[in-house]
Symmetry: D2
Subunit: 356 residues, 4 copies
């Protein structure tokens, strides 16, 4: 039983805006916007982390029930909606002009940059590996308490880890005498053989040399072989070209291929939501970079190293689930997809429908 | 000199979420979202009020410089962007399903409704008159501190008041031998006379009775006369049909009509931003109503009075600046607009251009 | 094999903008925006209808497979995203000022209003009954071809109809010796009895008369009885208070109550998407109303009947699935929900999990 | 006088969707969405080009009146709103899953990529120089008609050109005995001298070597000198480090510095809208890149050259107005800004205010 204002702790929330420009006796009107927008970011990041931890905990068990995947999916969809909205908040911040930012920017040192511990924790909770991080060291301007929070996050299980484990346990990839990766590999071979035949026929008709086109098909085949060959996959893991285990990778292909089977509908949507989140974090970073370049220019005055380029790199490269997104290069058209043995197909149904 | 987390008071902001369901030992996962979303609303309302007060204070002076109007316009544009984003926050809240809300709704009494004192203060600061308020009494569930804040807001000058005063002081409506309202009235008469002639010609050609069409034109003319006749305007004010003073109303027409003159460009955009804000507050309310109907159904179970209908009424009727919006019914096509005397036209220029 | 421009028929799409103001020799720059925005609306409405028809056709069969419901859900989510975006298009149109609209408004007669046949068809396809339509007759300005299209749409099956039928066929409401509506009714009785006991205890402790609070509970109970009593439900159908059949109504409650059972997860999300669409159509209408009031003022000059009020009424009242949304008033807290018999619970699982 | 459907040419617009998958007898439901979304993009790009050409034409005159700049600003704001909405359209397209895209992707060759001639024309109309273009040659898949349209666009005046010319003509930079760049340069020197003194004092107090900090200030000073020194600026133009003329660059600094003077308010907003457009085009490209990586994976299977990386590069590097955005690095705090001579300040007023 509480009043609205007590329930929402508005005494804390609405009393948390102290302008540095006021402390320096040089009131800068727009500093309030700067503070409130960043606080709104932090509020939403708290919610994002709350959902993310619950998703990780739900998946971090020996056996994940189907209903649990549905819950995880719903929570990731929420996280994605929040990231979309949070990204739009930059448009509000940008109602501040760069010269207006100049009026209080100097007062913010060393807090002027975006040093959100929560955002860093979010990256770690997603599973961003340190070797992918563009800027590896801590900023000198980082609060020791924040460092501690970040170090603690490093000890926790990441979304990448639990998703990989959950994928590896996908039980239908060898069942009822069916081995998914073998069937899929054969389907790819059939598809590419047909492509080769077509290329040759066309080349003959047009009196052209089919060599180049055939070489391209060979390249595609080689790409597929990399997925299915244990030795080569293992080398890709070692060299860092891939990070997701081979079995988990196969599971992604399996789920995407048979996504319309009742049991795989929610898993497919869940995987899609995971890569969507990865994408939205990139988009947030890119949008942030555009905002920074608006506020303080695109290059440092002296031509030295550029914060702008660094930020761009984080937006482009710090993807956590790119191995899953990459699987979309390896989908094959419906006509080549291997059919499932009837028994297996039935195991992917609901009890009710399986009986009929 | 402060760390990011101290500058943003994150110890307060991120420690302000206490779930009632936890207090009752029945953790409801989605209550966190409920709290965080409402806190985000309140943060943005704080920013909205900060801007609104600055706009009111800037205009609440004997002489408002043109540069000041530009500042007010920029700040209202910011407010409008915030209101748009805040409205989108309902989509996040609606990732919670109604049955999930059921899990903690009972714990919230009496704080379950949207009892934001800041939103009420915002309405008052805009200038919502008590007689337009659909629900006039305070909710029993309102905190006495909030009542005090609201009562205090009632003592302060509203945006409506300062905008009306600023409009009334528009200096060019009688100048250089030109009286705007007389010229405009004559233009309307000319326009409607031509319309009547057209109606008669057309009716004759088609052997129809022009009476109905002529009556309609008479009705339009009567509407215009109501604007220009002091006696009738005064009656409209008394009866509550209009609330904006006659002189301010004429100024709105003047500014809209000559909005491309350099001196009137920013004033026109400012007025437009004011009515836009009015519109966005309506939209926020409507969106809120849709959310409430999603969460708790569209009618009260017993068929008694309906919160849903009440909320709909507030979205429809609690407009503050509808007298300004209504002026768009009284614009006339460019070809009928009275030309300004050259001297007056020049006074609406910049020094630099006036000289050339 | 086609070029991009041929594939997208850009010769048609980009050559479809003819300004009436140009025809009249009075070029109005903003008319292009008016045309393009409305064409974008119509393009999206075409897509919406394409998805909606596919959903209706998919459900309009004797037996709807679970996988089909998942497809329908995905398509409605798409429709909902389109409606959200389309609603935002009004913000683009509103970069046109009302006086700029005046420059070409007169040339548009009788096409000035929003006379989209596709939108009308959308309403009919959703299942808007004619008796709920605020304005019942056709506009005189409507093209005979459009009337024909609309009349044809009336002959087709609506989303309301197929959703109702699909709900009525929900097979688990009487199964394994469990009759859902009886169990739910009993749960409600138990819940309200406990509420009454609490009210009496509290009243005694505070020496107050419990009569008013008890009467309120009686009212709530009566509301529930109306749902379960065949006679009373039938009267509600006759009087128009409700439109959805009693059995379908029970199915909504059933699905919402046991929404976490694997077999009901997608059905629940689908129902939610249906009411979301209903909501978004309302929101589109409300946003449209705000745009109209911006462009041509809030009242007709003569004080006669108001287009603005009419449009507001359509936004408020023309809901198709309000009977489903209303069910959220009849949910009960988790602790009162009747448990399912084990056998029935198992039938709501996947084959795979049911076996373990 | 036309019906709504004729006015909007709906017979063309709604009859322009022909599915390639249907032609091949393999109906792919989601191809309709693919077509409609791209048509919506093209419709909006037509509107963007319509506004952009009008802005360029308005500025492409010997003397640009202030009222004209206001019109250009309003039109660019509209363009920016359109670009924001168009970017959101990707979210609609992404309701299509990658495997669903597979169902018709093969039928689209060679039209599968985004080969919009209008988008290319937009880049050229903004003023993207060929040397900045990441991919310089035409795609083989481009229609000869599109090439012709693009070649024609190259002959037309760009926004960059007219904005540069308009900036160069800014008349107040040498007036009333005041030379802006000299005064600004002196202000920078004063500011940096004070910074140096502070650095030395602080270093002495803390017994540290000030050399590094002083070197940094020297670097900043050198950056400013590059702006003001004719020889060095000319070298930057030659080497391609800068593209905007020195005089135009000074005008940007002048307008930003004195942006609150009445005459400069609209010019400042206009420049801001220009760089905002540049930013939004980048954002569109980045969002497009994310969509492509979702649909067809992040890398080409064989490890060959990557379309994804190329697209990322265009989003990062193809900025047209980065020289203007970069000026935000060269703003100085309000306390160092040189005051304007009274006579000049007065020339930046309105006639009306200058008189009082």
């Amino acid at each position: 039983m509480a009043y609205y204002r007590d329930y929402l702790a508005l005494d804390k929330i609405l009393d948390a805006q102290t302008l540095e420009s006021d402390k320096h006796g040089q009131h800068a009107h727009d500093e309030m916007l700067f503070i409130v927008t960043h606080q709104a970011f932090e509020l939403w990041f708290k919610q994002v982390m709350f959902e993310l931890r619950s998703v990780i905990d739900t998946l971090n068990v020996p056996y994940v029930a189907e209903a649990a995947v549905a819950t995880c999916h719903a929570r990731l969809q929420r996280v994605n909606k929040i990231m979309e909205l949070a990204t739009n908040q930059f448009s509000i911040l940008e109602t501040m002009t760069p010269p207006d930012f100049m009026d209080f920017r100097a007062f913010l040192n060393p807090a002027s940059g975006f040093q959100s511990a929560q955002f860093r924790v979010l990256e770690i909770a997603l599973g961003l590996p340190e070797q992918k991080r563009v800027l590896k060291h801590y900023s000198d301007a980082m609060d020791p308490r924040d460092r501690a929070i970040i170090e603690q996050a490093r000890q926790m299980t990441s979304l990448f880890t639990v998703v990989e484990k959950w994928l590896e346990k996908m039980p239908f990839m060898e069942a009822s005498g069916f081995t998914f990766w073998q069937a899929y590999r054969q389907a790819v071979v059939d598809m590419l053989d047909r492509d080769r035949a077509e290329v040759r026929t066309l080349a003959e008709a047009e009196h052209r040399d089919p060599a180049e086109a055939l070489a391209q098909i060979d390249g595609i085949e080689d790409g597929f072989h990399g997925l299915f060959d244990e030795q080569r996959y293992s080398e890709m893991l070692t060299s860092g070209v891939r990070r997701l285990s081979q079995r988990a990778t196969h599971a992604v292909l399996f789920i995407a291929t048979y996504r319309n089977e009742p049991l795989l509908q929610i898993p497919y949507r869940f995987i899609d939501a995971v890569t969507e989140l990865d994408k939205l974090v990139s988009l947030w970073r890119f949008r942030h970079t555009l905002m920074v370049s608006r506020m303080i220019g695109m290059r440092v005055g002296t031509g030295g190293s550029s914060g702008h380029d660094y930020l761009m790199q984080t937006a482009m490269k710090q993807r956590v689930f790119d191995d899953i997104t990459a699987m979309n290069s390896f989908l094959i058209p419906a006509m080549y997809i291997p059919s499932l043995p009837q028994e297996l197909a039935q195991r992917l149904q609901f009890v009710n429908e399986a009986r009929t």
